[in-house]
Amino acid sequence: MTDVARRYPVWTLIVLLLAAGLLWLILTPWTPGIEQVLGRKRVFVNALFGGLTLGALYFLVASGFTLIFGLMRNVNLAHGSLYLLGGYLGYGVSNAAGEWLVAVPVVFLLVGLLGLLLQHQVFRRMEGEELRQTMVTIGLSVVLADMMLWIWGGQSYTLQTPDWLSGPATLPIVVGVDRNGAPVYMRFPQVRIAILVTAVVIGLGMWLVLNRTRLGMLVRAGVDDREMLTASGIRIQYVFLAVFGFGAGLAGVAGVVGGTFQSLAPGEDTRFLLASLVVVIVGGMGSITGAALGALIIGLVEQIGLVYAPTYSVVFTFLIMALVLAFRPQGLIGNRR
């Protein structure tokens, strides 16, 4: 962190100022002048928190994608299909078990197993042929999408929110003053707060595993120089299996989460594939921190864009991607290889 601050003092200052300004906007009661520019405070803060939650979901999907890409140079274009498959499976499991929480580990295992199978049976046979691997993932996404349409049909599903998470929570943020002069506190769905917390916990967990354990060391070494790692006697196939299984499982869990606070339908797979692509391109390919930053930016831009310019929120996302590509092709946090 201090390294970054020392290397880019101007950018750090700008980011800090922006963060402080945002915090000030959230914490202070708004004057009529601000309300004239930005609309009601409740709307703004809600969009902000909605963006945070959406960013958390994007992070869950994109972190597996970027990990697989960073280590294996495999652009897994079937990642969105794994997301949707996880959601559908989670719907079935949570209905059968009658408990939402059961769905998460079961889906993680099932989709992770599918990922292991794919890596072991398919991608291992064409190692080093990146283009061919990518084509295979495209074919897989077409086949999976049609099989899911076959099994689950075209209607949309929503997972039942567990009882202990349904309903709104009151946050200690004043969004306005009611007629009697008493402050009105912001209310936000508990389930979204839970998603945010889950994403942060998973992100921290991944960071700890990557930076503090032997497996993490192997993964980081593999991202930097795969050939050298293989040459030093590591059975890299096992590392590949672990990473692919974990990334796929994470996509499945994200499907459960996404199916709870949004809905599952054909077409969601490409939506989340696109989101992962944009997040990873913006953040920097192969970097978990980059995925977190990219997911945060894209989630916020999408939600705030939806509130203030509904027609063009997709364009904002795309503009950010084009800008990053034009000025920093390796992503905001990413090494030029």
Binding site: R132, M135, I138, L140, V142, L325, P329
Partner: protein, 363 residues
Amino acid sequence: MALTDKSRDQRAGTPSGSASWPDLVMSIPAGWWATGCILLIMPALASDFWLFQVFGWSFCLGIIALSLMFLAGYGGMVSLIQMTVAALAGYMVAILGTSGVQQISLGLPWWLYLPLAILIAAAFATAVGALAVRTEGIYTIMITLAIASAFFYFTRQNYEIFNGYSGFNLVVPPRVLGIDWRQPTAFYYLALVFAALCFLAVVYVARSPFGLALQGIRDNPRRMAAMGFNVVAHRIAAYGFAGVIAAIGGILLVWQNTQVAAFTAGIGAVIDILIIAVIGGLRRPIGPFVGAFIYVLLGTFSPDVLSAFGLSNERFKLLIGLGFLAMVFFSPDGALGLWDRWREARRRPVDPLTGQARPGSVP
């Protein structure tokens, strides 16, 4: 530098330009002449349904896939933007020309809106290319796919220019020379002529100095850069050229469907073009047409075949996806590669195991 010399080099550099006519005729294999003749007299043999739905559609998709084949086969850049460029050209024809949506269409004459549509689509392709060539290999797929999806979501939501979800209907070809070009026979010849023109253009450009430099860049960009070729400019120019071809295919496709909407360039359609090009083979310009023909045959007749096997007749995508997977697994150079290997195996006079002449082999 080499790029600016392109036109002069092209005139001087083609071997066939100086050859006499009989040589030129003889240099083309007999199979090509036969195929050409059969295609020319096809309207006498086939029904209107085959002419319009099967061959017409195959030519349109084939032209778009041809532009991808040019980029991937000669430039080494697998771009998923070609269908989007094609759809943009179709949109431009609908917006600048006439369509069922009176309040948006401008109703310009055809000699003005056709060049404009191709020009705008090619400019868009060049701009995308300028972004995409900043990255290499698999990154190109990711970035072009992201841009293609952004275009799809944008056209689906924008009602002022692109008329959103429903798009434009009643987009028909103009009456030129007093012919209704949407009649099956007329459309067949229209699509055939443009397919042949695009095919010949790609063959010509691939053998021109520009095309040779592009293939050099595909094989070793660093060495070509060291030899003084502007790698980035060549790649962007390739995107521009492929954009023109995709635009022609897109306009024909829109005329065939009489409509263009957001789903014309949906993610599925974008990936279908890649599937067509890969199934046919990315090595030679004829591959995309073979792939498109296979794709259209599957798309038209798979319901009958599937229901014969007792499956639901909606599983066309599953069939196409499995076929694509099998192709990527067993024959990375597509159906043409399979054909080549089969001929090679038949031609081999001795059995590699025993050293004996193989029975029934063609010497």
